[in-house]
């Protein structure tokens, strides 16, 4: 690297981007989809019918039913998480973990009867949301891998910016009429530069959401590693109330819900019950974030056995803590109304395009000359590119299709949907790898992308045929299906473009005059 600063940064950009590109692509795709996590969950449970408003009495009643269910089924658990019904999602959602290290138990209840809700079991949008930062691995592994990739992405962004001589004119440059490599370079530049503030913001704030896990040493030094004490002192969570070790009886939570609602004007989101059978049990009512950028949930903590308020958290964060919660809020975009959410979604798509075009650019720039065999490295990158860029969207489409095709009462139904997601992803990747043997790279791309388009169209068809009778709001479901069709059309369009692309006469002649036609041009 005995070169100038710009050359060393170009090298760093190419190789750091390649090494983590596939993980980043998956993180960008699932993160972009997560802007519509609630909508994906709603589409995947068409039996759920929305309600008008849910009054304070109905909320208190639902909370009492939830606690009754938990006392019967989760008495040994150290914490209970009770998601309360909203008009969009009129369900009581319970989580509890009996032993650390085991998967949490999860159940959905009808908020009026307390009986298990009669609807198909699915992970809904939560699968993509969790994949976005855990990659469906054990949480610790997944979060570290995603965090490392995000840091490499930051390095790739900074080195990419340095590499650019003409960042302003890149806004307006897309030379599709030149050689293929030039077109891909411009596509990478346009998608990278146009949404650059978003890319920088989303990457840095993404790392910040798990900052204390990745960089715990400040808390180690100043709090002897007690993260609960740190978070409580910043004003983000209520103070921990350690278990007394004496048995105690939880007071009715209905009145606590009523008092919490009288204290904070925001919608109530969930209850967290700690040490429910201890004399020092705690019930924390967590509200939705007030209007604004900051990810800051107002909270009211009750002493569980008496029902008296022990702490109220509502705003008043100091500047650094406010900066932290604002960064997390920017990342999650819960503040965004419909129009702004579309913009975030489009910026996320630009991120997918930036990572994807960067990966393709690496292979196009290193296309072997005609008549020479491709090296192992080139084939590996090309195979992983198809497997990720076509495979993951194909898996998402299969996840949606499985949701419509699997019988509603199938045992282990939600796991089957996840298997369909990974199964089709692996299938597309394997088909792409096998196609290397007898297809030109361009044909492999065309086939894989067309297959993904077909899968998304099939998801719409499955919805129309199998679930139309269940829709509570046909216009909403048709709108969701229209978006799926648009995604299918996008993949079909790219597939066609890959197929039809011909380098313009001049570039073709020059290439021919030099060393014969590269393989990608010939196909």
């Amino acid at each position: 690297m005995k070169q100038g600063f710009r050359q060393s940064m170009a090298w760093l950009h190419t190789w750091s981007g390649l090494v983590v590109g596939w993980v980043l692509f998956a993180v960008f795709v699932t993160g972009t989809a997560t802007y519509y996590r609630a909508e994906i969950s709603r589409w995947m449970q068409p039996e759920l019918h929305r309600q008008a408003a849910i009054g304070p009495e109905a909320l208190a009643h639902a909370a009492d039913l939830a606690v009754a269910h938990l006392e019967a089924h989760a008495g040994e658990a150290r914490s209970w998480f009770i998601g309360l019904p909203t008009p969009e999602r009129p369900l009581v959602e319970l989580f509890w973990r009996t032993r650390p290290g085991t998967a949490p138990d999860h159940v959905l209840l009808d908020p009026r009867t307390g009986a298990p809700a009669a609807m198909r079991a699915t992970k809904g949008g939560d699968l993509l949301y969790r994949f976005h930062f855990e990659l469906h691995l054990p949480p610790l592994w997944g979060r570290w891998i995603v965090g490392i990739c995000a840091m490499v992405m930051l390095v790739a962004l900074v080195s990419g910016i340095v590499t650019h001589r003409r960042i302003f004119s890149d806004f307006f440059t897309l030379r599709r009429d030149k050689a293929a490599q030039r077109g891909w370079l411009d596509a990478h530049n346009v998608s990278g530069v146009l949404a650059l503030p978003f890319h920088l913001m989303i990457t840095y704030t993404g790392v910040v959401t798990l900052a204390i896990m990745y960089m715990p040493w400040g808390v180690t030094a100043a709090y002897k590693g007690d993260q609960f004490a740190y978070f409580a002192e910043t004003g983000q969570i209520t103070k921990a109330r350690p278990a007394a070790g004496q048995p105690g009886t939880l007071a009715p939570v209905g009145p606590m819900v009523a008092r919490a609602l009288a204290t904070i004007p925001e919608p109530l989101e969930r209850l967290v019950v700690s040490n429910p059978r201890d004399a020092n049990s705690t019930v924390v009512a967590v509200f939705e974030e007030p209007h604004g950028l900051s990810h800051e949930h107002p909270q009211v903590a009750f002493a569980g056995t008496s029902g008296t308020i022990v702490e109220v958290l509502s705003g008043g964060l100091r500047p650094a803590a406010k900066t932290f919660t604002t960064m997390v809020g920017l990342h999650e975009a819960h503040f965004a109304g419909p129009a702004l959410r579309v913009l975030f979604f489009l910026c996320g798509l630009m991120g997918c395009a930036m990572v994807g075009s960067g990966l393709v650019l690496w292979t196009v720039a290193r296309l072997p000359k005609a008549g020479t065999a491709t090296g192992f490295g080139w084939r590996l990158v090309h195979t992983l590119n198809i497997g990720t860029i076509a495979g993951l969207p194909g898996g998402i489409a299969a996840y949606l299709i499985a949701n419509r095709l699997l019988p509603a009462d199938l045992a282990g139904r939600s796991e089957r949907e996840v298997q369909a997601f990974f199964g089709v992803w692996i299938l597309v990747a394997a088909a792409g790898a096998a196609a290397n043997a007898w297809l030109a790279p361009r044909q492999a791309w065309r086939g894989a992308l067309a297959a993904v388009a077909g899968l998304f169209a099939a998801a719409v068809l499955a919805d129309l045929v199998l679930a139309r009778a269940l829709w509570d709001d046909p216009a909403w479901f048709l709108g969701f299906d229209a978006v799926l069709l648009a995604v299918a059309a996008g993949f079909a369009l790219i597939s066609r473009k890959v197929d039809r692309f011909r380098a313009p006469g001049r570039a073709r002649r020059e290439a021919a005059a030099a060393v014969g036609t590269p393989r990608m041009e010939r196909a």
Partner: protein, 102 residues
Amino acid sequence: MSGSLTLAKRAAVAGRVVLAVGGGYGIAALATILLSLTLPLPRAEAVTAATLASFAVMVGVVVVAFAARSLGRAAAILGGLALALALALRLATGSFPFGFGS
């Protein structure tokens, strides 16, 4: 960087990666500890501000590690930075971080 990669070149690249990852994280961690303990803010605020800044510090160190003219030079710069931070921490707290030399 294309063409024939000699063993020496490969080793130099591997050295930079190790230096950038280890040095970048180590220096960012040292800076976080130092700022957490010395920023003139309430304790929780100092820790938050230091932790938020740490990732920018790490990116900067990685860029320096790859931009330096030679591996030796990169190691010298990062080593010097780490040493300066450790000394400052020693001055601020009376002990080296992680119990070294105390």
